[in-house]
């Protein structure tokens, strides 16, 4: 399959139809991969910004018909132009492809199409007729021929996808515009129902998600993105505040196969949730006594109160999932024993171990040297990890490091420092978190790294550091810190906390289990199918990716659950068409930060109320208060509902 022969996308035209074979084709703005999946070519694509044709055999007329029918079928039925107008056009195109169209239909479609684009409420109608109008302009001849010759156009083979910039960016693909619309309408419980179709972690994600959706929010082009994360939190909290039983989707009929899930963290809970909804009987093996995994041990209560995670685990158990706490796989039960009893296994153990700093004295077991995750874990259990210590130095720039410093105040440490080898700009932690820590008066030392632990009688008394400067960017694009020779200095401290990253503890897997690991000592699982080297054993989350964001673990676990279902039902374990389409859309680019929206800014994003820094710094009470109802509804009404439809014409 060759070059793109025609493309009109985002107002840019690349028409190669008349060019000779040798002439190089005009560059197209639309990046269209040649194949939908191995062996299935993409003949053409039609979407919100135009269309592109790669194969002459693809009929643009019929694609328009299919596209407008798709638009009509996803039109919510509320606004008049889209609801009725796209139906009128779809029927006109239906007539034309049946060979009974009239010439005047073309003009009527042009006029009506323009009117729908101009008059519709959301992006379904505002973008729906865009490719049709482009086709009527650039492929008018084809339409006229079909009408003149009264020919019946054969129907093409299409894959259709409804998405939105925020939905596409979300690793879990939550149906964001719909659940936000429900909030704007005051129907909070139904909003939560929509969220729970895709995740059981509404309250958790509503607090700690890094929200890729918000940086892909079209509202950003007008004023500020919606506070999608906290709207999700709002509906999750609403259910709790109103003392409602958790609303869970109705599972499918029970299936007779059992699946074991290792780890009750975000990945494990999500995978169990989906499989339970599909009717499987699930057992989760969890080494700790609490659900939530790294989200429970690694995220302090002031950001993610424990009852939230417990409730979300309750939602999973409501579906019949059994969680066996205090059951460490490898000790209490072996993987091979599990394998005998369960038809499939999902490994979602996370990345629980701290990365070594590679400094002198790290392995000497000095008192006061406490890895970040362990430090947070004991604080979250309500203990002071090292009560003799008063001064705290945390090394690292990620969220765990920030959580360590902020938690230190909350167990009464007064002198709290953070060392980071680059500058604030490069810090991977959430900017909001850094800002909050600054407000709470954590002392930040940028551009320095520890070199040696200083001890007295087996206790930490200080850390020797070296100043750094930023050099050339590394592969992550951040400038690489380089030590400045002779700049060593000492910071006095009683507690030294490395928080520079997490790694996976694979000790529960024995050689006999035959599950391969990567060179980074993570579980080797297929990018697309989440299968490990052992059939029937799947894995996703931090134990595969290394430390990553919660929503990705949740999203991958959902996909892994799909794969496990394929495996157990004897189908080929492969990525679903829907997920392929979502990825294809991502490749094409659903969000355009340059797009002009054409409306005036209409009110700012609602602000959450926060406890004052001087009060909140000493307590584990949640720092941010949720949205009150009225603010949530106002915030939700800012949504532009940017749904859009992509249509892929495939070969074969």
């Amino acid at each position: 399959m060759g070059e793109i022969i025609f493309s009109y996308w985002g107002g840019e035209l690349a028409d190669n139809r008349r060019k000779g074979g040798k002439e190089s084709a005009a560059q197209t703005r639309l990046k269209l991969p040649p194949e939908f999946k191995p062996g299935v070519p993409i003949r053409a694509f039609m979407g919100w910004d135009g269309f592109a044709v790669r194969d002459k055999k693809a009929s643009v007329v019929d694609m328009c018909r299919a596209y407008m029918e798709a638009i009509q079928s996803v039109s919510c039925g509320k606004c008049f132009p889209c609801r009725v107008g796209t139906k009128v056009i779809a029927e006109l195109l239906g007539r034309i492809t049946q060979g009974t169209g009239k010439m005047k239909d073309i003009d009527q479609m042009v006029a009506l199409g323009r009117s729908i684009i101009e008059g519709s409420k959301c992006q379904i109608g505002q973008t729906g007729p865009v490719p049709l109008l482009a086709a009527l302009e650039h492929y008018r001849g084809e339409f006229e021929d079909v009408i003149k010759n009264k020919e019946k156009v054969p129907r093409g083979n299409y894959k259709i996808k409804l998405t939105a910039p925020c939905v596409n960016a979300c690793p879990a693909h939550l149906d964001i515009p719909t659940y936000i619309e429900r909030i704007a309408e005051g129907d909070f419980i139904d909003s939560l129902r929509v969220i729970r179709e895709r995740t059981c972690l509404a309250g958790t994600l509503g607090r700690v998600c890094i929200r890729p959706c918000e940086s892909n929010c079209r509202r950003l082009n007008v004023d500020e993105p919606l506070d999608i994360r906290h709207l999700k939190r709002f509906v999750a909290d609403y259910e709790v505040e109103k003392k409602r039983m958790p609303l869970v989707p109705t599972p499918q009929d029970a299936k007779d196969k059992k699946v074991a899930v290792i780890g009750a963290g975000p990945a494990g809970l999500s995978c169990a949730y989906y499989l339970a909804l599909k009717g499987y009987s699930i057992t989760i093996f969890e080494q700790g006594s609490e659900p939530g995994g790294m989200a429970a041990v690694g995220i302090p209560d002031y950001r993610l109160p424990r009852p939230i995670l417990r409730r979300e685990a309750d939602i999973v158990t409501l579906l019949g999932v059994e969680i066996k706490y205090n059951t460490e796989v490898g000790k209490a039960i072996t993987l091979s024993a599990i394998k005998k009893e369960y038809a499939a296994i999902f490994i979602g153990v996370g990345a629980q171990l701290s990365m070594p700093m590679r400094v002198e004295g790290e392995d000497a077991g000095y008192e006061g040297f406490i890895p970040g995750a362990q430090y947070l874990c004991s604080i979250n259990k309500g203990e002071d990890p090292y009560s003799q210590g008063k001064r705290v130095v945390v090394v690292g720039g990620g969220n765990v490091a920030i959580d360590c410093v902020r938690s230190s105040f909350r167990i009464g440490k007064k002198d709290v420092n953070l060392l980071y080898r680059r500058t604030r700009k490069e810090m991977p932690a959430d900017d909001v978190e850094i800002h909050d820590a600054e407000e709470e008066e954590v002392r930040f030392e940028y551009l320095c790294a520890p070199t040696k632990i200083i001890e007295q009688k087996g206790k930490v008394v200080g850390v020797e550091c070296i100043k750094m400067e930023l050099g050339e960017p590394d592969e992550s694009g951040r400038r690489r810190p380089v030590p400045i020779k002779g700049s060593e200095f000492v910071v006095d401290t009683d507690i030294l906390i490395p928080a520079i990253g997490q790694r996976v503890d694979l000790s529960f897997i024995t050689e006999k289990d035959g599950i391969e690991a990567t060179k980074w000592s993570t579980v080797a699982s297929d990018d697309a199918t989440f299968q490990t080297s052992q059939p029937g054993i799947f894995s996703a989350g931090d134990c595969v990716t290394g430390p990553d964001v919660l929503v990705r673990a949740a999203g991958h676990a959902r996909l892994a659950a799909e794969m496990i279902d394929c495996y157990l039902q004897g189908r080929e374990v492969e990525v679903s068409d829907d997920e392929r389409l979502e990825r294809l859309m991502a490749e094409i680019g659903v969000y355009d930060s340059e797009e002009s929206i054409g409306i005036i800014p209409d009110g700012k994003r609602e602000e959450l109320e926060m406890l004052q820094p001087d009060t909140r710094k000493w307590t584990f009470d949640e720092v941010e208060e949720g949205f009150p109802t009225d603010a949530a509804m106002r915030e939700a009404s800012r949504c532009l509902r940017c749904y859009r439809v992509g249509l892929v014409a495939i070969g074969k």
């Binding site: 039925g77 606004c79 008049f80 132009p81 609801r83 139906k87 409306i599 603010a631």
Partner: protein, 857 residues
């Protein structure tokens, strides 16, 4: 929001607006026309019909005026060629499937679509699109028909259902052009007619009246609803001297355009064939029509005879809380001046008295200037007493719902049953009626610990020290055990109330209708005083089941109150006492206006009393059960035929206007009383309602200077100033209730007073309502299982005073030791369950707490 002024320009005119207002709101305020179809002032704007699009300079896309908020300096154009084209196209699209059956459509002439099509001069169906035909169907309630093809999908009905009533009986189903208004949960429908009311076209029509008329053939008469004490403003549609429908103007009264099931559908009794229109006298057990003069002179002679033989104290009078202020005023003059007795009462007083006495204790006054509009602005609402949703006060419940999303209000509900409001509550206390005082003291105990939670200058109020002392022992642990809730829930409620800037209490009977009932309300009022709900006069609401509950008491229909809450010399007999006295042979003649005590007062007492009476005259629209026992029957005017005023629960004094001419010869109550007086040889000048009101406005300090037909809404005097002058924390007793052996349940009757003048178990005069409204006994599911009954079974309620049969409704969310009997239209003979014990202070029977047991029928 709202405190910032912005300047905008619409169509070249510079205007001032408040930040937070939408462009449409500002335009309408300034008389600038922008077409709309999906917009409705009571509903959240959705910008779906696209008719209100406007062009804003700087924005490429037209924006909807209903959803776009004004911002300083924006320049708006509402009439451009482009906008005209967009609007016209949107309308043309609706016409692709809208049937052109205007000639036979109910809405023709009052149809918003028709008007728009006319305005835009659309004269052809340009586009075609198929849509499956819907035909005409019964809607979520049998009282409404749905014509799906006429629907323009403005979604107002769905939004009214979801936003105002929050029943979710209907929803949008399907997508694209096949999307339609579907009945998704018919069981949730409460037939409130809110959907019907907001429909802009003829897609929803009512089916109570068989007679239909075009808007230009009929008149609309603004009047006041005669059902409950909210005094909703409504318009009766009148055609050929018949009421054929009810609507409500958006901008008037406490209801602001909303109506409940009764208000909108409960009018067919007005033209019921069994209405009695001539005076009758009973001879040999047979009723016989007689001329007015004959009837009135006979009544006069009989009263004179009793007075002569046994003195004026042998005569009693009862007047319905659905009588007008003018009738009541004249009736009490008749009883006090012509007959010479204070033996006058009304069941309206039975609903108001416990509240009045509690107010008297805590604020040193008889009434409280509360406005229902303030409920919607409150940020924490406490609901105590009746279930407002079931109990005929749904308009008040809906105002609370409004607060939930308007201000993000917290909601605390005290009721043994988990009703709809309880489901939406942050804190629902499944309280045994009578435990309100303990609950309030528990919350007071917690609030006293936190000064920030107090209203202004609370510690300076009289009785504060005593309150502190009294609340000491009501620790969360003690209270939680006593009332059966968790300590956390109590703490949470205290937290919400403590944080609230505008707390509001909404109370209603049967709260207080029991022994020591006044204490329950006093305790709640203490709490309200503590958290500042009373200081601005906006946070303590009392809603009741009868339209003129407040008016009749303020007009002096009370044994110990003259008009204007003035104490008379001496004290007459209360309603129940009159029958007790009759049974003892002391009271011999009784004049009943509109009351049906056999249905509302302890029945066996009433039976005994009636049997012993020498003379009973009843004035009513129908031959009620009590009227059947009378010697003389006098016909009465319906509310639609009456001129006069009602005073609603907020203190609004509102007009009743004559919408239909009464049957020939019928006269208003005032004239009847004056005629009887003159036949008695005494003088009571005949006066028209406006003249009587003028007299009230002169003599009753609460109504001083008021007009019968005011220009603006008129409120009873004595507003918000100086409210706290006599404030004091009331002293309350919290005796532990003794159960009665053999009666494990505590039964509360709700709605016993709601059906005056319109029916009885054997007489269903309001036939429309009877189709959708049935009485039911709510019972805990486990308890029901124990005696082997399920939903819909018949059970016998047995109390120490009597028994009756009723359909049971089994509910998980019902307190185990409680029963709630929700009465509708008296299809259950319930008065025989009520015992003779009266609360010693309010003289009210214990409707709110009756010992009971249940057997399978």
């Amino acid at each position: 929001m709202g405190d910032q002024t912005v300047r905008i320009t619409i169509d070249g005119t510079e205007l001032q607006a408040e930040a937070g207002q939408t462009i449409l709101e500002v335009a309408r305020e300034n008389g600038i026309y922008i077409p709309t179809l999906c917009y409705h002032p009571r509903l959240l704007p959705i910008g779906s019909c696209r008719l209100c699009v406007v062009e804003i300079e700087g924005a490429d896309r037209p924006m909807t005026a209903c959803t776009t908020q004004v911002q300083d300096g924006i320049v708006i154009h509402t009439q451009t060629d482009r906008l005209h084209r967009i609007r016209r196209d949107a309308l043309k699209l609706i016409l692709t499937y809208h049937p052109l059956d205007c000639p036979q459509c109910d809405a023709a002439g009052a149809c918003e679509l028709q008007n728009l099509v006319f305005e835009f001069g659309i004269d052809e169906q340009e586009y075609q699109a198929t849509r499956s035909t819907q035909g005409m169907k019964e809607f979520a309630t049998p009282l409404i028909r749905q014509w799906g093809d006429r629907c323009v999908m403005c979604l107002r009905c769905i939004r009214a259902d979801h936003e105002i009533v929050r029943t979710h009986a209907i929803d949008l189903v399907g997508t694209g052009n096949e999307a339609q208004v579907g009945i998704t949960n018919p069981d949730a429908c409460i037939s409130c007619g809110e959907c019907l009311r907001v429909c802009p076209v003829g897609a929803l029509t009512e089916r109570v009246s068989r007679t239909k008329a075009r808007p230009w053939q009929s008149q609309k008469v603004l009047t006041t609803c005669h059902y409950c004490s909210l005094g909703c403003q409504l318009e009766l549609t009148v055609f050929e001297n018949r009421v054929i429908g009810v609507t409500a103007p958006e901008d008037r009264g406490a209801n602001r355009g909303s109506l409940c099931q009764r208000g909108i559908f409960g009018y067919d009794f007005l033209h019921h064939p069994q209405r009695v229109t001539a005076p009758m006298i009973k001879g040999a057990g047979q009723w016989k029509e007689i001329p007015w003069d004959e009837a009135l002179s006979y009544v006069a002679a009989m009263i004179n005879k009793v007075v002569l033989a046994s003195g004026p104290e042998a005569v009693g009078g009862l007047i319905s809380p659905r009588a007008t202020n003018e009738e009541t005023y004249l009736f009490q003059r008749f009883m006090r001046e012509i007959v010479g007795t204070n033996n006058i009462d009304s069941t309206g007083r039975l609903c108001l008295e416990p509240y009045r006495l509690a107010l008297k204790e805590v604020l040193g006054r008889n009434y409280f200037p509360s406005a229902l509009d303030d409920i919607a602005k409150s940020d924490c609402v406490v609901v105590a007493g009746g279930d407002l949703d079931v109990n005929n006060n749904i308009i008040a419940a809906n105002r609370i719902r409004e607060a939930l999303w308007r201000t993000g209000a917290r909601l605390i509900v005290l009721h043994p049953r988990q009703g709809r409001l309880a489901e939406e509550a942050d804190c629902w206390f499944s309280l045994r009626p009578g435990a309100e005082a303990i609950w309030a003291l528990g919350v007071i105990h917690l609030l006293l610990k936190n000064k920030k939670a107090w209203g202004p200058a609370v510690d300076g109020i009289k009785g504060f020290k005593e309150l502190k002392e009294a609340a000491k022992k009501f620790t969360p642990a003690a209270v939680a055990t006593e009332i059966g809730c968790s300590e956390e829930l109590l703490q949470e409620a205290a937290q919400w109330l403590g944080q609230a800037r505008r707390p509001a209490f909404v109370c209603s009977p049967p709260l207080g209708q029991r022994a020591n009932g006044v204490d329950q309300i006093t305790a709640l009022a203490n709490l309200a005083l503590l958290c500042g709900a009373l200081s601005d006069g906006k946070g303590f609401h009392w809603v009741g089941p009868q339209s003129n509950m407040v008016g009749v008491v303020e007009m002096g229909a009370a044994p110990a109150l003259l008009p204007g809450y003035v104490r008379p010399k001496g004290k007459g007999l209360s309603a129940v006492e009159q029958f007790q006295s009759a049974a003892q042979g002391k009271l011999k003649a009784l004049f009943i206006v509109g009351e049906d005590p056999l249905l509302t007062l302890p029945r066996f007492l009433v039976e005994e009393g009636l049997a012993a009476l020498e003379f009973l005259v009843v004035q009513d629209m129908f031959l009620s059960e009590t009227a059947e026992r009378a010697h003389v029957f006098l016909p009465a005017l319906s509310f639609a035929e009456s001129e006069g005023t009602f005073t609603n629960c907020e203190g609004r004094v509102q007009r009743l206007r004559r919408a239909v001419e009464p049957p020939e010869g019928l006269r208003w109550g005032g004239e009847v009383f004056a005629d009887v007086a003159s036949f008695m040889g005494k003088e009571m000048p005949v006066a028209s309602p406006p003249e009587v009101f003028a007299e009230i406005a002169k003599t009753n300090s609460l109504y001083k200077g008021m007009a019968f037909d005011p220009q603006a809404p008129q409120w009873r005097n004595g507003g918000g100033s100086g409210l706290m002058k006599k404030a004091a924390f009331g002293v309350i007793k919290t005796e532990r209730e003794k159960g009665e052996k053999g009666y494990p349940f505590s039964l509360a009757i709700e709605g016993i007073f709601s059906s005056h003048l319109i029916g009885s178990p054997r007489q269903q005069w309001a036939q429309g309502l009877a189709q959708v409204s049935r009485s039911s006994l709510e019972m805990n599911a486990d308890e029901a299982q124990r005696i082997g009954v399920t939903d819909g079974d018949r059970v016998r309620i047995i109390t120490p005073s009597g028994e009756t049969e009723v359909t049971v409704k089994v509910s998980e969310g019902m307190r185990k030791d409680c029963l709630s009997l929700f009465l509708s239209l008296h299809d259950v003979a319930v008065s025989q369950l009520v015992g003779p014990q009266l609360d010693r202070r309010s003289l009210v029977p214990a409707y709110g707490r009756i010992p009971a047991r249940i057997e399978k029928a």
